[in-house]
Symmetry: D2
Subunit: 101 residues, 4 copies
């Protein structure tokens, strides 16, 4: 099952800055071969369900190892069976509509 | 890794009513032994990361089998390493604060 | 415009426990007449768009006043124009399907 | 109160494609002066709480006018009182950490 995921991890407690933890998650997702596309409130990844969700679990594990005792993440997960669509396809389709308007 | 998850699955396209699909997800989560606690905008489950996320994958698979070609889910995932806390503990702690106010 | 909202507020930094802030949000939403229905990963409210979103803004304001410098919230917002449905209606409809299965 | 918002609107029912509705929301947010930064699973906006949330309400209103009877949106909302940080600052800070690693 191919998934599109938008993932935002938030460590609770301690330092109010979370940039180091977000950077570590980007590294974990990149090492997993998922080519994360970061935005200002999360990151987009796509791939097969199991490796994508395993990489997200690894993000939680690493951020706990960095000393953060509590984490709250939010995920948007998209799946479809009618056709294959990449993350880039989704954006391009909307951009074509906007350009044609 | 113990997780708390709040899960909301939304089928896209077709019938505007999604109650049958939500009910099927409750069944899938219950069969997986996760004792889902449904609310009006999702359901709470807790357990080990792998079986919880496997059950959520199974919800996507079943809802596609029901004829829905596209699904968008949102998950809140909480993990902590400082102590064990159940879903019920979280609610009770806030309710005690509210009762004492 | 009538809305169903599921709201989860997370203070960042400082104490890893967030129960006091969650309790304060429940109070703010109750004082606003929204009869919040708390679950273990957020709270359900319903009403007209403007007062519901104003109450959520007030939750942010109060939690900042409690000394939390940074907040990250997640909202699920549902609107529909085909018919009126309460939060309780949504849950009952799924429960009837589950009872009949 | 300055907010960072990540907004993802999903129409339910009818056509499985939602690109026209997503494009309309981008237009609404742009007309409101919010310079939306679209990604593959939502869009980032920032500004004062009231105009940002008013623009999101307008997105719901317009998508209903396009014939979609039911909408489910998800928002991540970030506020902070310790310092001003733009959406671009957040991304740059993580990118500097990644470049230095």
């Amino acid at each position: 099952m191919h998934v599109h995921v938008d993932f935002c991890l938030i460590p609770l407690g301690g330092d109010v800055s979370v940039a180091a933890e977000v950077a570590e998650c980007e590294r974990v997702l990149a090492v997993a071969g998922l080519q994360p596309r970061m935005h200002a409130f999360g990151t987009n990844v796509e791939g097969e369900w199991d490796p994508v969700l395993a990489a997200i679990k690894e993000c939680h594990r690493r951020v706990h190892e960095m000393g953060r005792a509590r984490i709250s993440s939010t995920l948007r997960i998209g799946t479809r069976t009618d056709r294959h669509q990449s993350l880039a396809d989704k954006v391009e389709r909307v951009e074509r509509l906007l350009a044609g308007a």
